[in-house]
C-alpha cells in the first residue's frame, strides 16, 4: 500500500560484526560438589539466591553444581546465602561481559564458532557464552575482556574504523 517514493536507500544493517562492547562489574559464582540428587540440590541453591532477592544471569549447569553471574556488589550476599546450605561456594570478582553485535547472528554460518575460536586463540579463559538474535555474549575476567574486545575490533572492524 503506497503513497510516495524512497529510492536508492540502504535497507539492511551490514552483514557480520557491527560493534563490540564490554560491560564490567560482575562476579561469577560457582557452586560445586553438590550431593545427590544434584538436580534437586541445584534448585535448593537457586532458591536461596532467589530468597536473598538476587537476580542472576548466565546460569550454567556444571558437573556437580552450577555457576552464574551476579553484579559484583551482590557477590558477598550471594556467597553468604549459599554457604548456609553447606555447599562449596567460590566467587570470582572482576568479571566482564563482552558483547559482539551482529544481526541475525545464527544465520551467519560459522560466525559464533569463529568468535569463540578467536577468544580461545587469544588465550582468553571463556567462562560462559550465550547468544541472542543480534549479539553474542561472552563472560571472562576484566583484563581478558578488554584484550578480547580489541582483538575482535582488529579482526572485524579494522577497515571500518
Amino acid at each position: 500500500m503506497s503513497k510516495g517514493t524512497i529510492a536508492g536507500t540502504e535497507f539492511e544493517k551490514p552483514r557480520g560484526v557491527s560493534g563490540v562492547e564490554v560491560r564490567e562489574g560482575y562476579a561469577q559464582v560457582h557452586v560445586q560438589n553438590l550431593s545427590e540428587p544434584v538436580a534437586g540440590n541445584r534448585l535448593d541453591a537457586l532458591k536461596l539466591v532467589s530468597n536473598a532477592d538476587i537476580s542472576l544471569d548466565f546460569l550454567k549447569l556444571t558437573h556437580k553444581g552450577l555457576s552464574f553471574l551476579v553484579p559484583e556488589a551482590l557477590a558477598d550476599t550471594a556467597q553468604e546465602c549459599l554457604q548456609q546450605s553447606g555447599a562449596e561456594v567460590s566467587v570470582a570478582c572482576g568479571r566482564s561481559i563482552v558483547l559482539v553485535h551482529a544481526v541475525n547472528i545464527r544465520e551467519e554460518e560459522g560466525l559464533l564458532a569463529r568468535l569463540v575460536s578467536i577468544a580461545i586463540g587469544e588465550g582468553v579463559p571463556v567462562e560462559h557464552v550465550a547468544d541472542m538474535h543480534d549479539r553474542m555474549l561472552l563472560v571472562t575476567d576484566d583484563a581478558s575482556a578488554r584484550r578480547l574486545a580489541a582483538a575482535y575490533e582488529r579482526e572485524f572492524l579494522g577497515a571500518r574504523k
Binding site: S2, T9, E10, D57, L61, L111, L112
Partner: protein
Amino acid sequence: MKFGGTSVADDASRNRAASLVISAKEQGWRPVVVVSAIGRRGDPYATDTLLGMLRDIDADVAPDPREEDLMIACGEILSAAVFAQTLKTLGHASQAFRGGQAGIRTDGVYGNARIVSINPQLLLECMEAGSIPVVCGFQGTHVSRPGIPGGELTTLGRGGSDTTASAIAAAVGADMVEIYTDVDGVKTADPDFVPDAPTLRKVTYDEVAEIAHLGAKVVHPRAAEIAMKFGIPLWVKNTFSDEPGTEVVRREDFPGRRVTGVAHTGKLVYLQFDLADIPEERGYAIQARVYGLLARYGLNAYMMNHSRRGFGFALPKEHYPAAENLFDGLVLPVKGEPPSVFLLQIGEKPSKEAETQADLLQELGPAATVRIELTENCSIVSLVGHEYLQQPGVYLDVLETLHENQISVLQTSDSEFSLSCLVPEVDTERAVRLLHIRFGLSEAK
C-alpha cells in the same frame, strides 16, 4: 501485502488472498503484492522440491549456490505470474515482477544475500497505470560492476519474502506492511503444542526477533528490522480469518509484558568434549581447533558451555553428519611435551575411523583420547520476555516447573530476552505446555 506459501497453495487459497488485495484496492489503497513460492515442503513448486531437482541429478556432486539460486527463484516467479493472472481474471489489471525488475539490488552472497538498494520505478509506473504489481519474494539481483549486461540472480535466505515485503514498502513509502500467513498472528506458543495459545495484539520488534531466533515461525527479524527502521507499521495476519492479527511496534511505543511466550527449537544434538584428564593448556588448544573447524565449515554451535572439565555445544541434527565427519577420529597434534597427540572419539566405543587412526598412531606412541559424549534428540525450550526474566526467582520457576514434572534439563542458556533449557526432544511439547501454564500465558494479550 505479502502472502506466504500456504496463502497461495491452491486456487481457493489464492482467490481468498486475491480478494483481500482487491478489497484493499476498493478501499482506496494502492496495494503492492509480494508472494512466496506455491505451497510448502513437498509440494511440486515449493523451494525444497525445486532444489531437489538439482541435487537429485547426482547426490555426490553438489550444485553451485549460483545455480541453486536460479532454480529456487523459479518458485516465486511461477507464483507471481499465477497470482497476477488470478487478479486479472477477477477484473483487476496486474503485472508480475521478478525481484530484479522490482529494482531490488543485493550484495553477491548467493543463498543469503542482503538488500543494498531498491529503485522501485517500474512498480510506481505500474501503480500509476492503475495496475497491481505482484513481486516475487525472496530474490534480487546483484550487479558486480557497472556496465555489465543483466545481473546475477540472488536469493535472500530464510524469511526472504518477508524481507522483500518490508523493503519494497520502505522503497515505495507504504503506509503499512501486512504479512499474511495461516495463523492469526504472533502467538504465545506453537498452537500445535498449545491449542489455546492466544494471539498477541502487539509485540515489539525485539520480542519478535528473539522469538524467531529461538525457533518460532513468525515474521522474520530482517523484515521487522526494516519496517522499524523506516517507521512503517507491520502487521501479521491470517489470510483465512478475519482476526485483527498482531502489530509489530517499537519498544518505546509499547510498555511490554513480563513474558512474551514460549518458543522451541527441535532436532538438535549435543556434543560434550571431556577434557577432565587433559592438561589445561592442551585443553585450550583442543578447544581452539574444534571451534576453528566449526567456523571453517560454517557450522554454528548453540548452548555452548565451558568449564575446566570440558566444553560442549548443541548443533542442528542436520549438521551432525558434517560434525561427525570432522571430529570422529580426528587427530590433533599440539606443540609441546607429551601428551601432544590427541585423538577425538565420539561415543564410548571407537568407530572404525577412530580405531584405524589409533592403530596408525601407535608408531608415534600412545595418543591421548578425547571422548565426545553425544546426546541425540534434544531440543531447546525458551521463555521469551524482557527485563522480567532477570528478576530474582524466574530461573528457579522455570527449572522447578520442569524438575517437578520429571523433565531433565541438560543445559541452560540465557540472554537479556530469553531463558533457554536444553531438554530431551521427547519432552518438548510437555515442557512448552507446562511453562505456558506456569507463566499464565493463556491470559496474555
